[in-house]
Structure formats: structure tokens, C-alpha cells
């Protein structure tokens, strides 16, 4: 019998031990708690790096693997980075671009202007903007003076983190500008709204305009001085550039023009930067050298910042361009320009105006068919090569990823903002300077003065066309056409606008995109934009 009691005793002991030794509180091996991230200035900087990386990358793993944007919104992670999404909305909807592969999610309907509220490219952009805003809000919350003091961070470390904080506010303001421009009336959250605590209220375009303006002005002095920050990080000039761009479009956003302010902020920037001497060297693998012209960039690197969107998309995307020209493994047969856009160049050969970087071999100029890869010229503007024609510094042996940085703001745009604001009656500038700036752009484009124009040629319509020639494929076209009221109207028609080959006017509701149905159903405070 004693043996039996022993057996029972052992059984009971084992049970009691097992129930005590392991608890139900488990934590992942490699992840960190928020408390452990935000303890050192390095931790803060790495959190900041993720906010910036939300521009460039699709997720936490090079290529694909751990997407930021859930697959319910964009099934293919390669399509879910900021630049590719925003680029598609700004360019595929216009005369500048169409994409051959109509079966790709969300493509059909963009160029034809018949999109709906459940288009994945539209909702992808929306959620990508909010992703960066949410990261920024978290960072701003974690980096209050109170939190820094509480975590024992003082002195130069604390000063650096305050700069990071101002940059986080800039990035948030930039994304709110994107949302204001695309969606008009998005929901609104700031750092005071903790994660999962509030259902955001909807804001209006006008309110949002005021908010972004006040944020940018508030951080104007907190940001690091122009050109004094690390490459890739925002400085005061970035905030000024965003203000200038926003003021130029103020009439669209609020009904009230702010052209004087657009000139004011252009003026702050102009003297600090100069045009790079060769247009065709703007979008190359070593374009990080163009710091004289680039104000703020999204940085890509074939070794360290790998993804299928970004400038990888802009380099592989254009149809028919051989890998030997683009410096990649080849093209994806996708992007082509309408003939209407090509016609903005009196000489599309590129021999006179060097900005006409069209690839024409095997391509028909006329876009007879919207979804045929050989209809429409494509472009070689983005090339993964250095100025000397050599391979990229961190070249990807497989030829997939590229090293080209993308300028969100560059001096040429500031010149064009200045000129347009002057022509639209803004104060603080003059027509002579405006003409000078336009001719600076044209002289660079032509390599000589043969392309220069005179004062009488400098009209608003000329500036729109000049913006097209100078800034195409840089995510400006849709906003520009709306400002000129040529986006939905019959004032300017291009191939397949409205779904017909000659183009036709469409409902003016398409000037802003619909709030994604997904968010309407999860946020009861939201109302759909008119007409959708």
C-alpha cells in the first residue's frame, strides 16, 4: 500500500508543479514593448526611421514578407507602398499614364474615371497615408518633454528627439495634405487620440487646410535649418515647400486663393537651391548627389531599402524599355503615355527639349487601345544607372531593386509655383522673375537658350504644359489639372478619359476620391463624399 501512496503523491506533485512553473503571461522573443523601444535615443531614432520608411517600403522585410498594409486592402504587397499607390492616383488618372494590365487590382476604371469606393488602389493610398499618420501620432505621444524627462533622456539626446518630433509632425502634415488633396474630407486623428480609444471625427477640407497650415507654421522653427539635416530627413525648406504647394492650390481646397502666400514661401526656398545642370541626370541611381536641387526625397537603395513599388516601379514599369537602358532586369510592359501628352512637346524626339525622354521603338504613338502594351510611347526618365552610365552603387545583381531616390519637392517645382502664383495675381513676386525662372528650366532642358520664351508667351496654360513637360511622372498631374479645371471637364480631353478613345468629360465628383467603403463601415462618424 505504501507504494501506492507514493505513486499518488508523485502524481499530485507533478500536477502542482506543472500548474505553477509556466504562466500564461508570454511575450514574443524578438519584439519589444513600447516601453523598451522608447528608452534610448537610438530607439527613438529607429522609431522615426520607420515613419520615414512608411514612404518607401511596403513592410518590415525587404521585397515582401511582412506588409504594413493588410492583404485585405491590398492583396499584393508589392503594390502597397506610398509612392506606387499615390503615383497611380496622380498619374494613371491623367493624360500622362495608363497601365497595360487591366486585370491588376484597381487598375480598371482609374484612367477611364469610373472608379468606385471599393477600389484597392484608392483605399490602399488612404490606409497608407493613415498608417504613416498613426506612426507619427505614436511617436509624437512618446516624445513629449514629459515622457523624455520621465525616461531620463536629457541634454543633446533630448534635443535631437525634439527635432525628430518636429519631423514626425511634418510627415503627418504631409500625409494630411495628401488626404486633403485626394479625399477632401477624411477622418482626423492626432496624438491626443490614443490607440483604439476614439472613433475619429470627419474633418472638412477647409478645416484640414487650416490645421496643416498651422502645423507647418508651428514646426517651421523647430525643424532643422534648410540643408543642415541628414540627407533624407525633412528640414525647414521641406515645410516651406509643402506650404507653397498647398497655397498654390488653396482655391481648390478652401475656395480662397492664397497666391501671395505661395510666393512668400517660394521666395524662402529659391535662393537656397539651384537647378542641377542636366535634366536627364535627375532620376538616376546616384541622384542623391542632386542636393542643390532636391529639397526633400524618398530614399531608395537596392541593398538596404528593397521593395517592388517606389522607383523600382517607375523604372521597370514603362513598357518595352530594355533592361540595358533602364539598368534593370527588364520592363514590366505596363506604363505608357497618351499621345495627347506627348504632343505637349513640339519635338518629341528629345533632340531639342531633352525632357522628352520617350521610348518609341515598337510603340505606336497613338493610344488606340488603352490596354495594349504597344499603344503609346513609354518613358526612360527613371534609369538605374549613374551619371557616368555605370551601374548603381549598391546594384542588385538580379536587376530587380533600384537605387533611385524620389524627390517629393525639388527646386523646379518651386520656380513653377512662383511663376504661376505671380500670373494668378499673387503679391511679393514679379513677372520678370517668373519669366527668368521658366527660362532657367527651359535652358536646362534645351541645353541652350533656343527654347526660351518671351513674356507674352508666359501664360497660365503655358505653365500647365510646362509643368507637364518638367514634372511628368512626379505625382503632380492630377492636382495640376484640377487646379486648371481640366481634370473632369471637356476643356482638355485625352485618350480614354471617360472610357472613350477620344476622351470625354466626366462627372465633377471625380475631382475627389470616395472614402473607402471599408472605413465607412468601421467608422460611423463618416459620410461618403458627394456623388459616390
Amino acid at each position: 500500500m505504501k507504494r501506492i501512496y507514493k505513486v499518488i503523491a508523485v502524481m499530485i506533485t507533478v500536477v502542482i508543479l506543472a500548474s505553477c512553473t509556466k504562466k500564461l503571461d508570454l511575450f514574443p522573443t524578438n519584439d519589444l514593448t513600447p516601453e523598451s523601444v522608447y528608452t534610448t535615443s537610438t530607439g527613438y531614432k529607429q522609431a522615426l526611421a520607420k515613419i520615414y520608411a512608411a514612404f518607401a517600403l511596403t513592410g518590415n522585410t525587404g521585397g515582401t514578407g511582412s506588409p504594413d498594409i493588410p492583404t485585405q486592402i491590398i492583396a499584393d504587397e508589392g503594390n502597397s507602398d506610398f509612392l506606387r499607390l499615390y503615383w497611380n492616383l496622380q498619374e494613371l488618372t491623367t493624360d500622362e499614364a495608363s497601365w497595360t494590365w487591366q486585370n491588376d487590382a484597381g487598375v480598371r476604371g482609374l484612367h477611364e474615371m469610373s472608379w468606385s469606393a471599393i477600389n484597392p488602389i484608392i483605399s490602399g493610398t488612404y490606409y497608407r497615408s493613415f498608417f504613416q499618420i498613426t506612426l507619427a501620432n505614436d511617436f509624437i505621444r512618446q516624445s513629449t518633454d514629459e515622457n523624455l524627462a520621465g525616461r531620463g533622456i536629457t541634454g543633446p539626446s533630448a534635443d535631437s528627439i525634439r527635432k525628430y518630433r518636429a519631423e514626425a509632425r511634418f510627415l503627418r502634415a504631409y500625409q494630411y495634405w495628401i488626404l486633403m488633396d485626394l479625399f477632401g474630407n477624411p477622418p482626423f486623428v492626432t496624438e491626443t487620440d490614443g490607440i483604439g480609444t476614439v472613433i475619429p471625427k470627419q474633418t472638412t477640407r477647409t478645416e484640414l487646410f487650416t490645421y496643416i497650415e498651422s502645423e507647418l507654421k508651428a514646426i517651421e522653427t523647430e525643424l532643422i535649418a534648410p540643408k543642415a539635416n541628414e540627407y533624407g530627413r525633412a528640414d525647414q525648406a521641406a515645410a516651406w515647400a509643402l506650404l507653397a504647394r498647398m497655397y498654390l492650390n488653396a482655391q481648390v481646397y478652401t475656395g480662397t486663393g492664397k497666391f501671395t502666400e505661395a510666393i512668400t514661401y517660394s521666395n524662402k526656398i529659391k535662393g537656397l537651391y539651384s537647378l542641377h545642370n542636366n535634366y536627364r541626370e535627375l532620376m538616376l541611381a546616384d541622384n542623391h548627389l542632386n542636393t542643390n536641387e532636391f529639397i526633400f526625397t524618398i530614399n531608395y537603395d537596392a541593398k538596404y531599402t528593397q521593395n517592388w513599388g517606389g522607383t523600382t516601379y517607375l523604372t521597370h514599369g514603362p513598357a518595352a524599355v530594355p533592361g540595358s537602358i533602364s539598368g534593370t532586369s527588364g520592363n514590366w510592359g505596363g506604363l505608357r503615355l497618351t499621345h495627347n501628352f506627348v504632343d505637349l512637346f513640339p519635338d518629341p524626339s528629345g533632340n531639342t527639349d531633352k525632357r522628352a525622354q520617350f521610348y518609341t521603338t515598337g510603340q505606336n504613338k497613338t493610344m488606340t487601345d488603352l490596354y495594349t502594351g504597344t499603344d503609346g510611347y513609354s518613358t526612360t526618365k527613371y534609369r538605374n544607372k549613374t551619371r557616368s552610365g555605370g551601374p548603381a552603387p549598391n546594384a542588385d545583381p538580379a536587376g530587380n531593386w533600384v537605387d533611385i531616390d524620389f524627390p517629393i519637392f525639388r527646386l523646379a517645382e518651386i520656380y513653377l509655383i512662383y511663376a504661376e502664383a505671380v500670373l494668378r495675381g499673387g503679391a511679393g513676386g514679379d513677372a520678370v522673375t517668373a519669366l527668368t525662372h521658366i527660362n532657367q528650366l527651359r535652358a536646362r532642358a534645351y541645353g541652350n537658350l533656343s527654347g526660351n520664351i518671351n513674356a507674352s508667351q508666359l501664360t497660365l496654360d503655358f505653365i500647365l504644359d510646362e509643368r507637364g513637360r518638367e514634372l511628368y511622372y512626379e505625382m503632380h498631374r492630377r492636382t495640376d489639372l484640377i487646379r486648371y479645371d481640366k481634370f473632369t471637364t471637356a476643356a482638355y480631353l485625352w485618350a480614354w478619359k471617360g472610357g472613350v478613345s477620344a476622351g470625354r468629360a466626366v462627372d465633377s465628383k471625380y475631382k475627389i476620391f470616395p472614402i473607402p467603403t471599408t472605413d465607412l463601415s468601421s467608422n460611423p462618424n463618416l459620410k461618403q463624399n458627394p456623388g459616390y
Binding site: 501506492i4 499518488i8 502524481m11 500548474s19 500564461l24 508570454l26 511575450f27 514574443p28 519589444l32 514593448t33 531614432k45 520607420k50 520615414y52 517600403l57 518590415n60 511582412s66 504594413d68 493588410p70 485585405q72 486592402i73 492583396a75 499584393d76 497595360t100 494590365w101 487590382a105 469610373s114 468606385s116 471599393i118 484597392p120 488602389i121 493613415f130 498608417f131 499618420i133 506612426l135 477624411p186 477622418p187 486623428v189 487620440d193 490607440i195 483604439g196 475619429p200 540627407y231 533624407g232 530627413r233 530614399n299 541593398k303 538596404y304 531599402t305 537602358i325 532586369s329 527588364g330 487601345d369 545583381p397 536587376g399 530587380n400 467603403t517 472605413d519 463601415s521 468601421s522 467608422n523
Partner: protein, 1013 residues
Amino acid sequence: MFTCTSTSAENLTGYSSFQKKIAKMKIKNRLRHVAACLFSLFFFTTVLFAQQSLKGTLRSASGEPLVGATVTVKGSGRSVVTSPTGEFSIDVPAGSTLVISYVGYQTREISVTSEPQITITLQSAGADLNEVVVVGYGTARKKDLTGSVVNITSKDFQKGVITTPEQLIAGKIAGVSVISNGGQPGAGSTIRIRGGSSLRASNSPLFVIDGVPLENDNISGAGNPLGLINPNDIESFTILKDASAAAIYGTRASNGVIIITTRKGRGGGLRINFSSLNSASILVKKVDVLSSDQFRTIVNDKGSAAQKTMIGGANTDWQDEIYQTAFGTDNNISLSGGLAKLPYRLSIGYQNLEGILKTDKMQKASLGISVNPTFLDNHLKVDINLKGSMQKNRFGNQAAIGGAVSFDPTQPIYVKSNRFGGYFEWLNATSPTGLESLAGRNPLGLLNQRYDEGTPQRSIGNVQIDYKFHFLPELRANLNIGYDVSKGKGTVFVSDSAAADYSRAGRNTEYKQSKRNTLLEFYLNYVKDIKSIKSRVDVTAGYSYNNYLTTVFNYADFNAKRVKLPNTDPAFPFNKPENTLISFFGRANYTLNDRYLLTATLRRDGSSRFASENRWGLFPSIALAWKIKDEQFLSNNNIISDLKLRIGYGVTGQQDGIGNYDYLSRYALSSANATYQFGGTYYQGYRPSGFNPNIKWEQTATSNIALDYGFLDNRINGSIDFYLKKTTDLLNEIPQPAGTNFSAFIIANVGDMENKGVEFSINTEPIRRNDFTWNVDFNITYNKNTIKNLTVIPGDKNYVGFQTGTIAGGIGGQFVYINAVDGPKSTFNLYKQVYDSVGRPLEGVFVDKNEDGIINQNDLFKTKTADPKVFLGFSTGMTYKKWNASFVLRASIDNYVYNNTFSQGGTLSQIRGNSVLYNASTNYLETGFNGNSQQLLSDYYIQNASFLKMDNLNIGYNVGRVFNKATLQLSATIQNVFVITKYKGLDPEISSGIDNNFYPRPRIFALGLNLGL
């Protein structure tokens, strides 16, 4: 338990009149009569008769020889075991009694006459209501079951080449759908019990093998984690379908529980059994694509000048090239018996199977050891089970399947060039690699130049100690300590000359993962018959601890020469995801008057996957049963042999299929190739993960009403079950209001879903004769799934539902399903095709459903669903003298498949491609689509995939004695015999409902032998 009665007295030759007399005695007075008959037998045995040699053959009702059954001379302790032909020989005194027992069958007693040769038939335990069934944490007498529990033993298993346990029961059980995931050897299956209760969390049932609950997750390098269990070692399956049966498994029971019991040693002399099954698998059907001549005609007719020059001079049927006739062998040897008082069973299995896709190969070796000693006068029972297996797999590159369908048939396989291994590839001189960048690669090159090899190992074992208290024999204590460890590792090698990975100079990568799952369970069980109040009480209370720990090793990426690709070092060398489940459980069975039964269970589960305030869940169940047959008014009825009404209700939980740490705010470091550049430095970022501190259990409440019936001595028996499963707090990925969480979607408890259905089964034995038996079993299941709510605010009209079901064709993801309120899950959501007057679909013309003049996503409409409404199983077996034959049919009604092969490959733009030519589906000849409008999301591609399938056809012959002592049986089996369907693609049985690059299920011809000693 035994009786002196026999249900097949007339089968027994030399049956004594004395036996006949007692056979007629009433069961009511059973015990007294048994005692009487025993006494008589003893008397005759010991006094009246002399020793004689008796030879016998033991068969099942279906005529199969029963191997390894124990034949004991009552009272003498002398016993023998039947040979592989079911024969036995024993010296007995005439007039003595033989007790014949075999697991899964009713124990019989036979009195010995002077007849020297007898044939004995054992009735399957299906008809034996005293049979004991393994249920969660203990056993139950079959007659006492109150829940929906189905037990299926080896005699009813599917036959042929079976690589994974669940395939043994496909089509055999009402309410249980088992669909293999393809034709690859060892492929896993999609198993659904009563439709599946979840949308985004797991819909797979819990598997418990010899008391060890298994984790559902995959093992690296193994096609299927269950494939590491040797099907030949399995004795029986018990399926707990409703909540009253399964709720004892609490949070893991919502999708049902499948309990596997493996074969055990039974003591006695050494028995050796050897079986060998050798098979040849052939491709049954190819995807219909254009012939090379059709292809040439079309390109010459409609291609550009450049495309016409691409046409080659060869005629290659790429599908013929990538498939092969595959050979396989499956060998098992088992040794069982008793060493001293230690019953043991040792089994060794070896499978070596080729896939019909060239280069596909699976080798598996498995070992099973089971010892079951008893001590202390049977008070202490110890069960030790150890199972181990290892595989050596080479996975054929399944990209070749789609590749072969679309590769240009006018191109040759090989060219006279050393580049790219001599395979024909599409070239482009301007590309840095010399290859056309987006062109498909040579399908044969994809296969032969890739070595994707995995060597997973798995061992499952447990020690179960059961102690019956000496001072209180009604009380038992049971301790079960178990483990499930596995290691998955493998390598992928692609030569540097292979076009597929040419730009990265080949591939030589590795992966490794290990799992260590531990289990500790303890329970007390008290059983007491309280005669004074005609009651029986059976109470269990216990504790369970489960820990699931996985270690995943991370590696850098290498080219074929093992040169590391730049910057591919992982951020962390390994990761160790882990979760723990702690549970307390109890069950009470109360039986009144042997007619009225009550079962109540309660389980409290704590999971590490939830925050402390949501961590614990309580899962109760209650069930009542009424044995109507035992009521006075039916007890004399000779037609009705069994009638029982069961009513049950219970709540189960579900936490599988979600992350381990979803409730925690946590920050993940980005990998080295996903950094951001500030100045000259690249920073790895910290990304906060989306989280939901409020996440908790998903709950399913199941009601079940059922009737078990038996007629004519149970020669006709079965059940009908009606059930209603309501899942609340669905674990579902739901969108977060933008800006309120780090991920736009998180897993949260939002939504309700309902499954209701009927299951009916009938098992019959139309012929039950000595040399001729025939049984016919049939089951049918109807299940209706409805999503009731998906939003935080119920009935939100804004919410259209969420899309799932990614198809091939178009990047960025096109979804064909929508999960929306008031419809079933996986409802196709597509454009309505418009047809011309002769019924041809008009390309790009769809019905403007909302009549707004624009065809866009708002015009998608909900149509058919992928899940069948009704599925059926039909099995029959026949024996005639030494021959036996059986087949299994399965059918599925009202299931639809999206034919992605048609939609992606059935257009002119498919042929003209981007830069090179591709072959198209013959569907192009029917539609003439040029592919320039969005056709992918047309409901034209939804096809009715109802089917009738013969799973296997088996013929066996019992040779009998060979080489003196050994016995031999032979069998021939055909698997995947035929399919009758209207579906136009390769195979209608596709659990995902999207037919794309499906690995064809082969037809398998197998010859087997079974040799016993």
C-alpha cells in the same frame, strides 16, 4: 462483459442444443443465466470430455478473416491468437467453452462440440451496445452515449495507398468532409466537421492521438504534419461532432474533435504481420490547352509580325513531359504479443512514393512502440505509446504545373546550347541575363533544376498511468504525460545555370524549425452503480496543461555557390513563438434505470493568447438521452432492435488560427534590407504591430437532436442528427477606423455565424450468411452556413462584407469571394455576364446591376458558393468464400468552382502575351475573347462542380496457409476510379473553390499482400 447468447447461432456448425436453449433466454436475467451456463460449461469441460484438437476460422460479418484475435479456453488460461488468415488451432476438451475476443467486435463464447473444424463469425462492435468508445478523458459505453459521437474502426477504413490518417475516413461519416489538397503524395487535406464554425480563425478539427492533442500548424519540410503519423498503426477514429460530446475539449472543440487510437499489444505469443502494397499512379486528365497546330494557326492569323517569327518548329505537349507514371511501395511489419505480463506492439513502416509530377518524391520511415503493462492486481495500468517517423521529401516544383499549361507548344524542350542547362528558354539580347525578363521558364527546367528537399521528423509519445484505488475501486486516478516534438528542416538548391534563378546565380538556401509541445493531464474518475435507486454515476474531474513551443531559425539567402546575397542576414537568428493552455474540466454522467441518461460537462480554459481579463473561458454542455427501446412498450418488439433519442446543447470555444500575442502592443524590428537611409546610415525601423487588447475566445453554441435506430437485430442501423451551431464573437479580421490602430485590420471578436444541418446515416447488412456476406453503408449531410453579422454595430448597411479568395491573373490581388451578412461564407461575388443570342458570352459586357450607367465594383453581385450544400458517402463490401470486394463512392452537390484556368488562360491576349507567346486554354476557342477587357471577374467562369466519385475499388483473395505456418492474403485496389461531373476543368473537388494550377489527383493501381505468422 460477455453473454452466452449469440446473434448468429445458426452460423455455427456443431452448435449444441444446450446452447440453443440458453440463446433464447431473456437478456433481462442475463447475469443469472450466464452464471448458470458457465457453471454447466465448467462441469462439462472438466468432467465429461477428453482433449481434442480444434481448428477454426474467424471472420468478420463481412467475411474478412480476423487477424490477431484472442481465442481462450475458458477457465484454463490457455489461449491462441488467430493467424493472418483468421485461422487458429487449439487443443480443447470437448464441451468446453471458447471465448473469442477482438477489439472492435463483440466478444463471443462458443461451446466446443466434437466437430473438428469450425467457422466463427464475430459481429462488429457497431452492433454491440456494450462496446466501449474512447471519448475525451476516458471512455464511455456506446450505449450510454448522449452526444454525437461516431466511432470508426480499421475494418471500415478506406483502402489502398493512404499516406495520411484522415484519408482513412473520407466519405465514411455523415457531417465530416475530408478533401485532399491535391495529388501530391502525402498532401494534406481540408477537413470540415459540420461546415466549420469560423471565418478567419481555424476551421480544422482538433486531433487527439492516444490522448495527446496535436497542434494544427505545419511542420517545415513536411507536406502535411499529419502525414508523419503512420496510417497503418491506427486502430480507430472517434469523431466528436457536437458540443455535448466535444465541450470537454473546451476551447479547441468548436470544429469537432477527432480522436485517434493506435493499435496496441494484446499479450499472448509473438505475432508477426507483414504487409506490402505496391502501386503505380497515372495521370488521369490533362488541362485542355491548344494543340501546337491550333496554336500556330491562331498566331499566324492574329499575331504581330514579330510574334509570327517566334513560332517554333516543335510539337511539345508540355503536360506529357512534366508528368510521369509514378511507382510506390508501402511496407509495414508489426510484431505483437506479450513478454511475461507485458503486452507490446512494435511496428515499422516504410513508404516510398513518387509523385506523378516528375522529381516529386516522398520517403517515410515510421516506428511505433506500444507497451501496456498492468500491475498491482490490475489496479495500476500503464500505457506507453511512442511513435516516431521521419521523411525524406523532394518537392517537385509545382510552378511547372501552371508552366506546362501555358508554355508555347511549338518550342522544343532542349536546344543545342549549354546555357540554362540546355533547356529552351525565351531569350532577349538586351537584358542583362540574356533571358526575357517576364517570360515563363521551361517547365521541365523548373522541375529538374530545382532540388527542394525536406527531412522532417516527428515523434509523439505519452505515458498514461491509471490507478484504481485499492480501498475504493470505484475511483480511478489517471495521469497522462505526453509530448509531440518535431523538427523540420530542408534545403532548396537551384543550379546557377537554371533560368528560373539565373539573375541571382542560383539558390542554395536552408530552413529549420523545431517544435516542442508538452502535455500534462490528470483526472479522477468515479463510477458507481447505485442499485437501490437504479442509478449509475460516472464523474470525472481533471486538470490539463498544454504548452506549444516552436523555434524557427532564420537564415540568410545564398546563391548556388553558397555566396551570401548582399544584406540578407536576418534581423534575428531565431524566433520562438509559444502559447500555453491551462484547463480544468469535469464531466458527470448519470443513468437512471438504464434508460434515462444525462451527461453534463464543464471546462474552464485559460490561454496565454489573451489578456488576463479575457484569459479564462467557461464552456459548459448538457445532454440527455432516452433509450426508448428499453421501455416496456418496445422491449418485446422484434423489428426494432435499438432506438435512442439524444438531445444536447453545449458551448465550445476556438482560439486556433490567430497569433500568439495579438493582445499585446509590441514593436518589431525591420530586416536589414528594409531599412531607411538618413545621411550615410541605414536604420532598421521599429514598427508597432496592430493589436487588440480585448481579444477573446470565439464561442460556438451547438444544439443537437438525434435519433439512433436499429432494426432487425441491428442489421439495419444508423442515426439521424439535426444540429444548429451558432458562433458568436467570431474571431474575424475587421477593419479598424483609419488612424486608430497600427494595422488597418486586426483580429477582433466581431460577428455571428450559423451552421445548421442534418446528418443521416444508415448501415445495413442485406446478406449475412456463412460464406456470403454483404454490407451497404450510406450517409448524407446537408449543411447551411449563414453569416449573421460582421460589424461592431449589428446590421450596418454600409458594410458590404469582406472579400477573399485571390485568383491568378492580374497582380495586386483580385478577389472572387465575399463574406457578407445573410449569405454563406465564400460566396462568389462577380460581374453578371451578358450573352449574345446564341449563348456566347460577350466580352467585357456585364449587367449594370445598380443601373448607374457605369460598370464598376458596385456592380459585383453575390452568386453561388464554393461549399457544397449536400454531400454523400456510400460504401459497400461483399465477401464470398475466399473472395472479398468493396468500393467507396462520394458525391457532392451544389458546390461551385471558379475555373481560373479558363479565365486566366482563355483569351487571345494570353497567347500574344507580353513579350513572348503563351499557350491558351481551349476555352478560347469557345469564347473568342481577345482579353482586352476585364473578363476575370465574370460569373461565366463559375461552374457547377457537383460530382460523384469512386474513391476506391478493392478486391481481395484469401490464399490461406502458405509455407506451413504463414498465411497469405492478396488484394488489388484502384483509387480515384472515376468522376462523374459537369465541371469542365481538371477536377471538381477543390476545397478552395478556385481551380488554378491544381496538382492532379492520380489514378492509383495497387497490389497488396499480407503475410502473417
